[in-house]
């Protein structure tokens, strides 16, 4: 039985598949190796791309993560796709006719390569995220000799991101309740001030967290 219920982060799909149970540091290494390989693939090797896609899809299948869980989270790729869509029209070089439009051949190849590599990379990363709990991921990074300070920063970020997002939501709601509309340029200075307040609040939260850590004997190094 799987599901996004109960404990776990927003990207996680709860389950007990072999992919879920695999040691997290191996999964991190696998995603790293996979992404590097895909990035280095020559863009004409269509069969290799098909094989890579088949590999990710097979892993997702074994993990039992439904594609409808992953699909909305693929939206993170959108900015890249917008850029990719523009590339054939703005790139220089010899032009070819596609569906009655004159597009750059080099741009078309570039767009294909970026699209394929980005999509495969994002899909592999999402699969890792969907099958790995945050604490396991942090331990994996530690085990892979990522510097302790960086692992701690990632840990704090994951822990406090939810609170910051909550803060933003509350402040936004309070603005809406007083007739604020994000569309009106007249209100843009308000957005800037809100971000300032958010920064100060978050900074003060950091101070309080530090104080609470000191109270428990923290001396500047994680035990």
């Amino acid at each position: 039985m799987g599901g996004s219920h109960g404990a776990g982060h927003a990207l996680l799909w709860h389950g007990h598949s072999p992919v879920h149970r695999a040691p997290a540091h191996l999964k991190v290494l696998a995603v790293l190796a996979f992404t590097t390989t895909v990035v280095l693939l020559p863009r004409e090797w269509f069969a290799a791309y098909a094989l890579a896609l088949a590999l990710v899809l097979a892993t997702i299948r074994v993990a039992g993560v439904p594609l409808r869980h992953l699909a909305p989270r693929m939206l993170v790729e959108t900015p890249v796709l917008v850029f990719v869509a523009l590339l054939p029209f703005v790139a220089a070089g010899p032009r070819v006719e596609v569906l009655g439009l004159s597009v750059s051949e080099a741009g078309l190849w570039g767009a294909w390569a970026i699209f394929a590599k980005a999509t495969l990379g994002v899909l592999a990363s999402l699969t890792l995220a969907a099958t790995t709990e945050v604490p396991d991921l942090l331990r994996a990074l530690h085990r892979l000799r990522v510097p302790g300070v960086l692992v701690e920063i990632v840990g704090f970020m994951v822990r406090y991101l939810a609170l910051v997002v909550d803060d933003v939501r509350r402040m936004h709601r309070a603005l809406l309740a007083r007739g604020f509309t994000a569309r009106s340029p007249r209100h843009w200075p308000v957005v800037a001030r809100t971000l300032g307040v958010l920064f100060v609040r978050t900074f003060e939260r950091g101070e309080r967290v530090r104080r609470a850590m000191l109270a428990r004997g923290y001396t500047g190094r994680m035990p």
Partner: protein, 249 residues
């Protein structure tokens, strides 16, 4: 008389911006006592609490914990002896799992392996949160997070537990459950609170702090029935609450 667990003598403090929060506070807490610190907002309650384990340095006067002066050289031992539970559990719980957070304090004391595990188990059991050891703190209810925050401090086996507004933001059921847990803890306790019925229920003795000085130190019921004292220091009981009618053990 035995050495008090907490001894505060002539404590004064002014913040860097010039605002003076404490003007010579004297206070003694003995082993096994449960004492409430009452007072209006801005009375200096939190400032006092931050001095008890050296998070703020005294401008004048001194604080001793079981005879050990709160000074830079003794800070690690002072912070082991005085367990501070902050008002917002989200400030206190920063780890990815409840277990890691409860282990943070004792690990800072140098405990490892089975000894560390034992501390974590013991502290979580004391607040009834054993079943949540593997959960992420931000997925717990507010009441559960407050209980875990208390466990993170209990795991250091403090000589005195200092709680800043333990009942704030709790719904009535969580407030009652926490009272039962606090009453069962076998530890000296100092509790800063605006919740006067809570003070009456849990603390036989109350200290009223107002404008940076101690203005009353007496059995809690005696303080709460003194209308003149209460009014003078902006302390108010909930409408219809009569402290004379509440049975106190």
């Amino acid at each position: 008389m035995s050495v008090p667990v907490l001894a505060v003598r002539g404590l004064a403090h002014a913040y860097p911006d010039g605002h003076q929060a404490l003007f010579g506070v004297d206070l003694e807490i003995h082993a096994g006592e449960r004492v409430a610190i009452l007072g209006p907002n801005g009375a200096g309650k939190t400032t006092l609490v931050l001095h008890l384990n050296g998070l703020l340095e005294a401008g004048a006067g001194r604080v001793e914990v079981s005879g050990l002066p709160v000074e830079r050289a003794h800070l690690p031992e002072v912070r082991r002896r005085v367990g501070l539970v902050f008002q917002d559990p989200d400030d206190q719980l920063f780890s990815a799992t409840v277990r890691d957070d409860v282990a943070f304090g004792p690990a800072n004391l140098g405990l490892r392996g089975a000894a560390l595990e034992e501390r974590v188990e013991e502290a979580l059991a004391a607040v009834g949160m054993t079943a949540y050891a593997g959960r992420a703190p931000h997925h717990l209810s507010f009441g559960q997070r407050r209980r875990v925050a208390i466990a993170t401090v209990l795991a250091m086996r403090p000589e005195v537990l200092v709680l800043d507004e333990p009942s704030s933001n709790l719904d009535p059921a969580a407030r009652r459950e926490l009272a039962a847990i606090l009453r069962d803890l076998d530890v000296t306790m100092l509790m800063v609170t605006h919740d006067l019925p809570y003070a009456l229920e849990l603390c036989p003795r109350s200290v009223v702090l107002s404008e940076g000085t101690v203005v009353a130190d007496a059995p809690t019921r005696t303080v709460l029935v003194d209308r003149e004292l209460m009014a003078r220091h902006r302390l108010e009981l909930p409408v219809g609450f009569d402290p004379a009618l509440v049975p106190v053990d």
